[in-house]
């Protein structure tokens, strides 16, 4: 890891000194050993803040949106999931590639900061769930790359958790989701960290429109959950950030993965964020789509 870290610092330094980039976004040490956190570096003197450890979970691609109206040329460090997020943002035309430099960093899976916070110091911390199921640990797009590619530890999508819910009876399903969404405090952290949730004006920020009341109850919260899941359907890159940031531990990915599973079975296997061209499942159709509504 430390080799990658020193190479990251050297790359950042070179980019900033040469003027190729005016901003470098990477990770720095956080308050606790388990919260490595995003950092913006503007001066070559600060590159030693950059770190690379097993908690560099945060997806940095979403920060690129903050620079669309500035003159900056932005370099970001990007793991496999970050590069898929980057592709998604390009595909959604939210950022332009010529303002960005992507420095790919192969990743061997990040540890769960939430688990670490609960465990005693020194205990073995498990890998976070989304990373366990990751099939693209290596950057899928990059301008430069640091470190050696790793062998993916997962080749198939794992839908066992979704299937477990599907196997429940109707009342149990409803009770499960009601229980989970009773916890939601609607802080919108899941939305704000999500690379697919990149709308300039979100439906949930328009309470006057009457769509989403600010009332907090299981029904309103589920309305939020399902609607957001549908809005990112076909665009979710399964980085699992939504679940990681949720202060209430709502299993948000269970909902996203349900859509991914159904898209795969109904319309053919699709992986979001691997390419920047081509149709997205829900923005196109085939005449030969399954017919159930006759």
């Amino acid at each position: 890891m430390s080799d990658i870290q020193s190479e990251m610092r050297a790359t950042a330094k070179q980019l900033l000194e040469s003027g190729e980039a005016t901003v470098v976004i990477g990770w720095e040490k956080g308050t606790m050993p388990y919260n490595s956190t995003p950092v913006m570096i503007r001066s070559a003197a600060d590159v030693d803040k950059l770190i690379w450890d097993e908690y560099c979970q945060q997806n940095l691609s979403t920060y690129l949106i903050d620079f669309i109206y500035t003159e900056d040329k932005v370099a970001i460090f990007a793991k496999g999931c970050d590069t898929r997020a980057y592709n998604r943002l390009i595909q959604d035309k939210r950022i332009s590639a010529d303002k960005c430099i992507v420095i790919g960093v192969p990743c061997s899976g990040m540890k769960s900061a939430k688990a670490a916070a609960k465990l005693p110091e020194g205990a073995e911390v498990p890998m976070s769930k989304a990373c366990k199921e990751c099939r693209y640990p290596n950057p899928v797009v990059f301008d430069r790359k640091i470190g050696q590619d790793v062998t993916p530890w997962c080749t198939e999508k794992d839908f066992s958790d979704v299937e477990a819910i599907e196997a429940m009876d109707q009342d149990a399903k409803a009770a499960f989701w009601k229980e989970q969404y009773t916890k939601c405090i609607r802080c919108y952290a899941c939305r704000n960290i999500c690379p697919a949730c990149n709308c300039t004006n979100c439906i949930f920020d328009q309470s006057a429109s009457g769509w989403q009341s600010k009332d907090i109850n299981a029904s309103e919260n589920q309305f939020y959950g399902v609607t957001r899941a549908f809005h990112v359907a076909g665009r979710c890159i399964e980085c699992g950030q939504c679940e990681m940031v949720c202060p209430s531990d709502v299993p948000i990915m269970l909902m996203n993965k349900k859509f991914i599973k159904d898209i795969d079975t109904l319309f053919g296997a699709y992986e979001a964020g691997l390419e920047t061209e081509g149709p997205v499942p829900l923005s196109h159709y085939e005449v030969s789509d399954p017919e159930e509504f006759m």
Partner: protein
């Protein structure tokens, strides 16, 4: 000091639940918060006393969503009915000292201004706070630095002081309300034992002169540094024990409706959005700056106390680790 063995805690709760509504800290499917004791009895939640809860007990004073009044409208005619307050006294067991201090902050807003908020006042009068001293602070706790007394809860808020002696809890009445409540309890032991040992807090720093320093820092580049990674989510404000901003909405079904008071967050776009579309706090920088300055400067200037009580919730739960303690240390230098 009155005591009860931890093994007999259930009987204490049963007695309290008989005379009062009882709220206890629980773990509900991974979310820790204050909830009715009945949830523990029914096995829906587990009692959680290992540390402070994620969602602060301000929910017992300023619920996330609360009906202010209800109405019926027929054409131009209108009937309005006040909502009934708590009709029964309510015991909050295990509120930490930081959260009692936070309620004192809320008092300044809801009781000490020109207007007394009737709903807040009702809850303030009906709630009986059993405040538990923390022996094992978390790595993110910094209440001592914010001037709190770890041995004694805020006396204007707490009614009974609770100490954790390992195998037992000790109780000392602070207010008359607390004394009356303790007097009703049976099966308590008596001890003159000294206060339990408290592990020192690891997160410690000096805050002297902070509001004065911040006065001249409105245009400081430090705001860019701290706001860059902020997501503008509402996690910090919603779990903060002192954040008290709210929005007022209608919930209408046909002729009838309720006026709802719901939490709001200064991190959200709609919070400062004006009619006509102007947004005075357009971005992360303006919003983070406002939140930090409100906590550390504006409230000090108005009420002579800090609006940050050092509970450490935002430090622990911020998705991107925007750390107010790091900020304070950097400002103090």
């Amino acid at each position: 000091m009155k005591t009860i063995e931890k093994a007999k805690l259930d009987s204490l709760f049963a007695q309290l639940a008989q005379n009062y509504s009882l709220l206890v800290p629980v773990d509900y499917n991974g979310l820790t918060q204050f909830a009715p004791y009945s949830q523990v009895q029914e096995g829906v939640s587990q009692l959680y006393l290992d540390g402070n809860v994620t969602v602060s007990p301000k929910t017992a004073y300023l619920p996330q969503s609360e009906a202010m009044y209800k109405f019926r409208a027929q054409g131009k005619k209108l009937a309005i009915e006040e909502m009934a307050g708590l009709d029964k006294q309510q015991v909050l067991f295990g509120v930490r000292h930081c959260d009692t201090k936070a309620i004192q902050c809320l008092d300044k807003v809801f009781l000490d201004e020109k207007f007394e908020d009737p709903q807040y006042k009702n809850k303030r009068e009906q709630n009986i706070v059993f405040s538990l001293a923390c022996n094992n602070p978390k790595a993110t706790c910094f209440c001592e630095s914010m001037g709190l007394d770890r041995a004694h809860a805020e006396a204007s808020v707490a009614d009974v002081q609770v100490y954790d002696f390992g195998d037992s809890f000790g109780f000392e009445a602070i207010s008359d309300k607390g004394k009356a409540c303790l007097d009703k309890l049976t099966g308590l032991g008596e001890t003159a034992s000294k206060l339990p040992d408290q592990k020192p807090q690891t997160l410690k720093f000096d805050v002297a002169g902070l509001p004065e320093k911040l006065k001249d820092m409105f245009e400081d580049p430090i705001w860019d540094e701290y706001s860059f990674k902020c997501l503008n989510c509402g996690t910090c404000s919603y779990i903060c024990p002192t954040c008290h901003c709210f929005d007022i909405n209608n919930k209408i079904r046909g002729e009838v409706g309720v006026k709802l008071r719901t939490w709001d967050s200064c991190m959200f776009n709609e919070y400062t959005l004006m009619a006509g579309g102007h947004q005075p706090r357009a971005g992360k920088k303006e919003r983070v700056r406002n939140r930090f300055l409100h906590k550390l400067q504006y409230f000090n200037e108005k009420h002579d106390m800090s609006l940050c009580v050092g509970c450490g919730r935002c430090v622990a739960k911020c998705p991107v680790n925007v750390d107010i303690t790091k900020f304070i240390r950097q400002v103090i230098g």
